[in-house]
Symmetry: C2
Subunit: 327 residues, 2 copies
């Protein structure tokens, strides 16, 4: 039975949000206040699967939702989405290359479909419903396996000329630094992401002469077993080595944010993504680095650096809301 | 006698632009097509002079122009100007601190005055009349003693939450790198500016075992006598060492631009400022570095990187035009 909020909803308020992640595809019914009323999931087909399989999974997930069949659909995807919100130019988890996904899904679903880069969608969700409400200039940094981001400027989502604005993770933090999958060296996301948490943790373990008992107990006796989530859990218990790892990663995060603040002067900086679940372990050192390195700090206010408030579903919520505006 | 264009001008088309530089204050009468019809200059009072002296020089320069006394005045100044275009928070060449310059000048000039950061004004001029006409997303980088910049996004000048957007020069290019006046180390402007031209030239001269005859003839026998302008003139003659200097500085310029393009995805990148007068000596290596390091270069077009077309008066022209729009 629908809950009480359901009964007061006008159908026109509803939109469908879809988030295409590396492991799962989530679809949800989202109301005009950004509340998710129902959500279903499907596994993401493997990267080697034909693009059609991903479409099938999206169509099936959307079909399961109890929602007005005219409700617009917003799809958030990791990767490059063109500025018109119609074509996925490249996606890291799916075999899409110049894929006209919006047209294909519209033909199959019989309603408007809008595509968006997932971090752009998350930025929009934080602006509309989350940590950046009423702030017309929002810099969103999403920290997961890599770093993504989005910009809301003067109350509009800034997609860039080709739909690729916000690829902050591949700004170079260290010339000739750690190698990145993108082919360059020293990209920021190699220093301030889930991958960086693993890198910093393994480097510290390898410097030790013997096993570290708390880490062995946490399943990380072998550096190969180190994961960002395990390090985060350990850091939450007060483990000093795990705390050091987050301090290092958070400091790199704050330094990069200082560069972006110098360039863009946002009213607020919102940090989201999986690694941001570590909360103040990550944000406190980031805030300290931002405050101590921001250019012109004697003559300006340092913007607040806050955790996202919409949560891990921000991409889905933002995509749904953008579909409502685009429709 | 006024030229023929003067005779066809409607007074309402005219605005006054003022550019406050380190050595001179220029004021000009600018028409609605961005053409400067008359220009006067005054020396900039020394940094130790009271703020009032600078106001006096501006008022005197504006008063010399033969222009409708109601024409709005736009003032471009190096430094931090607040987002409303009213207050200079800090200026490197003048003793202004939180100076309500727009109000003071309005009281003395009896007409609307709009303040703008000089690089923002130059970006606006290139968008309206120069190298970036009809391109709604413009990244402008001004390369002088340091690096400034401006952003026109979706056809609007993006000043940021506090009026400080576009301070690209203090993004960190090299952690723990060359010291910068701002108090940080490794700022981009230490690697890709007039200061960087001098640094690269001196470093190369000091590596040589003896004097370099072409450099001695160009007045740079002593590394202390090296100036950006002299190196530029020498490079124009085909001097290989001077060419190396510009190749190094241009490469750093292109790398930093690649970071900004990843973050902002502009439709065009315009390079202005004094050092950009070196033209292709600087831009060709910058373009090469941008093309070879831009993230996702296999899945996107690389934006054009071009020289500004408005010239050294871009700040004055842009400030005048912004005053027309603000008024």
């Amino acid at each position: 039975m629908p809950d009480s909020e359901d009964l007061t909803l006008r159908p026109s308020d509803d939109a469908v949000g879809v988030d295409i992640g590396g492991t799962k595809i989530a679809a949800g019914r989202v109301d005009g206040q950004g509340v998710v009323h129902e959500q279903v999931q499907r596994p993401t087909p493997p990267r080697t699967a034909p693009p059609r399989d991903v479409e099938d999974a999206i169509v099936a997930a959307v079909g399961e939702l109890r929602v007005d069949s005219r409700a617009p659909v917003g799809v958030g995807a990791a990767g490059f989405v063109n500025a018109a919100g119609r074509v996925v130019r490249f996606a890291p988890h799916v075999s899409w290359r110049e894929e006209p996904l919006a047209d294909r899904l519209e033909a199959r679903l019989g309603r408007p479909v809008h595509l968006e880069n997932d971090a752009n969608a998350a930025a929009w969700a934080e602006y509309r419903f989350g940590a950046a409400q009423d702030e017309p200039r929002v810099l969103m940094v999403t920290v997961g396996t890599g770093i993504g981001g989005g910009l809301v400027y003067q109350g509009r989502l800034e997609r860039g000329a080709q739909g690729m604005a916000g690829e902050f993770g591949h700004m170079v933090a260290v010339p000739s630094g750690r190698p990145c999958e993108c082919g360059n060296h020293g990209c920021w996301e190699q220093y301030a992401s889930g991958a960086a948490v693993r890198w910093e943790a393994r480097a510290r373990l390898q410097r030790r002469s013997g096993p570290v008992s708390a880490w062995v107990r946490a399943g990380m006796g072998d550096p190969a077993a180190v994961t960002g989530e395990r390090v985060s859990l350990l850091a939450q218990t007060g483990d000093p080595l795990a705390g050091e790892v987050f301090a290092a990663v958070g400091t790199w995060l704050g330094r990069g944010v200082a560069d972006l603040v110098a360039a863009l002067d946002p009213g607020v900086v919102v940090v989201g993504g999986g690694v941001a679940q570590a909360g103040e372990l990550l944000l406190e050192p980031a805030r300290a680095a931002l405050g101590s390195t921001l250019s012109g700090r004697g003559y300006r206010e340092c913007p607040a650096l806050v955790a996202g408030a919409v949560g891990p579903g921000a991409g889905l919520v933002g995509a749904a809301d953008l579909a409502r505006w685009a429709g």
